[in-house]
Symmetry: C2
Subunit: 437 residues, 2 copies
């Protein structure tokens, strides 16, 4: 059994990173000290905060970002770059430093989410991989955070694997967990990232059996009375009666996957209570998003299953982060700030630092970004950048659970308006402080 | 060097597929002959046709859908299913038949895109993987097809890797190629799927050098005069002058990545012509989608680079296909049609067949779906389902190039209104024909 996925992550890279490398090696500029930064120019339309996710996955992928013989042979065969560049790539191993926002942190326009310090050659190669991972995972986490916020403590279940690329699904399950989801349907996310997984049955299981009673009986015998029975294959009221007859009042849960969920949840709750199944939970699924979850807050719902809208970022499937060269050394070894001046895409040159300014109650007030120097802490501020990589070695935890804790703390610090579902501005402003100003 | 990606695709699966399997093994229903079908209830809002993509990737992934010791140990450790189910899984190998639309075909609401014939147990396990791959790849291909249609023969370059999950990026490059894109930036797509890759340089390359002339000179010396120079880092007019001075009129191309592309393309074309660089091509990039491409049709543009909107399906990031049990055997061995009756999600039971009805000019007129029997060919019809898997063995080509040819033929057969960019209905109607009717 062989995989069509290489263990090396090095070719998950845009062609032009390698041609730039080739040209820069020729001019000698490849060896200039450089600073690249990842940031988002803006939040997706109407969002009040972003969530950094994928940092841990990026750091793990960085360990495998090596051009082994297989990658070198392929690049040679397809004539991507010249021999001297291939020789350089064969020896490549990122040896620089990387700073960044801890995974799970909330962020705002301009927040320096990753700061990569290395030679130009070493740093430029990481652009595509870093952006792919952060843009995807952060988009999912931002949507997930709004959903868990709307769910207000009721558990959210990630079940969107079938609506996104099979590997993106694994990463989406992880990102959702970072942003507070309780469980995922994705088994690989369980194995790879220790995300708790859960699931019971689909309509196909009921349809397979001669009738609903036989299907429920089989499920309860096999999975126990604490299982969740899917009750909307034919008629919900009838199914709930059968479910409680089969499992007794100890039945773990029933799932509703169609129709008006608020109305049905109320009817089913009353029915379950009348049958003595007062502890049987009601799980709802069916094209939920953060707005539907918020609308169900008033209903007797015990858990929300979310699929499509989660894995597609609920209208914002990519976080729109960019990776920009902001500083490099010149021939005298002096670091100079750089930024393109393209119409409608102006960037801010210079190495960034960041503080989250907080008021005396510990509530976030502003994102303070220092250009070229650390901004002044005015007392209760929190420094945002931590060192992630030192001399090429990853020096922080990369697991999802740590990121989940970070997110919970970071979100709790935001002003209450962060939790409004309606479209709005970033919940705190971004302020730049320039060196010497 | 180790990968965090297992060669087995078996855990790219929802937890509930395995718990259903456990329960069905207990009742014996697991061994019932079953037919599962993949179809889309509707096209994304306003789309005139869909494009099946990912079939080849699914068939390759099917070969690796095996529960090896690593998967079994993980499932045991996390207590996902019981020991007898684990024993069954350890021996699992799909041994059924699969029929489907050839990859690259256009499709319509209800088209039976995959028809899986096996036992319930063997078929139910494939749901998540099949849907993940088809929903992702088909969403990208549908968007890509509209873009290549709008480009009307001018080459389209896929460059969206940084805006989507790193593995989804590879699949997106492949799907775009299936739908007529000329090249991709994604190196792994080049290696894995033989998608032609291309790229030259980014703004960082210009910013790295002391001035634009040095950057351009370096690039031309290294990559040749036929390279494409990025001319919008500072001032476009100035950059174009320098570009032609440096490379001469043989300069391959210039790239515009910001501003009003139509206005700039016209100005740059005039400037290039006046400098004698009449064959120098103009490549435009910068948040293009099918509408922007259509709007640039009137401009002197030679190639379109498309990123975000392509990999996110241009507003429809998932194709919304479902995988439904439509038929199974009963205790007498008779096949019976099944379908759930859930409010707002009614399915059509019974095994499906499909013809594309064509008029005497060979133009598609309707999608004829036979329920339980092949519909009657009225002369020029085309049968849509081909056998993909026989007794568990893949028996068709799974490469992207074959699918690309299929798409070109299939799209050419649609009525001209298929190519309108405006929102509309499916360009041909879907008609069901029932057995015995």
């Amino acid at each position: 059994m062989t995989s069509n996925i290489s263990p090396s992550t090095a070719l998950l890279t845009d062609h032009y990173e390698l041609t730039m490398l080739q040209a820069a090696l020729r001019s000698g500029a490849a060896e200039r000290r450089s600073v690249f930064e990842v940031f988002a120019r803006r939040l997706p339309d109407g969002r009040r905060y972003g969530v950094v996710a994928g940092t841990g996955r990026f750091l793990e992928a960085l360990k495998n970002f090596r051009f082994t013989d297989a990658e070198i042979d392929d690049l040679r065969e397809r004539d991507v770059v010249d021999e001297s560049t291939l020789e350089w790539l064969a020896d490549y191993r990122f040896s620089g430093d990387i700073y960044g926002y801890p995974e799970g942190e909330c962020y705002f326009p301009g927040s320096p989410l990753l700061v990569v310090e290395s030679t130009f050659a070493e740093g430029v190669l990481l652009e595509t991989l870093a952006l792919s991972i952060l843009n995807h995972d952060s988009a999912v986490a931002a949507a997930a955070s709004r959903m868990t916020s709307a769910a207000a403590g009721r558990p959210c279940i990630e079940m969107g694997s079938r609506r996104t690329h099979e590997e993106a699904a694994v990463a989406a399950a992880r990102a959702a967990y970072v942003a507070g989801f309780a469980t995922s349907s994705n088994l690989e996310a369980g194995r790879r990232f220790d995300v708790p997984t859960a699931g019971t049955s689909a309509h196909a299981f009921t349809l397979l059996h001669d009738d609903e009673r036989e299907a429920f009986t089989t499920q309860v015998e096999s999975l126990g009375k604490n299982t969740t029975l899917l009750v909307d294959t034919y008629d919900v009221t009838n199914a709930v009666n059968i479910a409680v007859e089969v499992a007794g009042p100890e039945l773990g849960g029933v799932r509703l996957d169609s129709g008006d969920l608020l109305v049905q949840a109320r009817e089913v709750r009353a029915q379950l209570d009348s049958l003595g199944a007062k502890n049987t939970k009601i799980v709802v699924t069916s094209d939920l998003d953060e707005y539907a979850i918020a609308a169900l807050a008033a209903g007797p719902v015990d858990a929300y299953g979310v699929g499509t809208s989660l894995v597609t970022g609920s209208g914002a499937p990519t976080a729109g982060m960019v990776y920009k060269l902001v500083q490099h050394s010149d021939d005298n070894g002096e670091m100079i700030d750089v930024a393109k001046k393209s119409k409608d895409k102006i960037s801010v040159g210079g190495r960034k630092w960041a503080l989250r300014r907080r008021n005396t109650e510990g509530v976030a007030e502003a994102e303070i970004i220092g250009i070229g120097t650390k901004p002044q802490d005015d007392g209760g501020d929190r420094e945002m950048l931590v060192q992630l990589v030192q001399g090429g070695e990853v020096i922080v935890a990369t697991d999802a659970k740590t990121a989940r804790e970070t997110h919970e703390r970071s979100r709790a610090e935001l002003p209450a308006t962060a939790h409004q579902m309606s479209r709005g501005e970033a919940v705190i402003p971004t302020r730049y402080e320039r060196r010497g100003v």
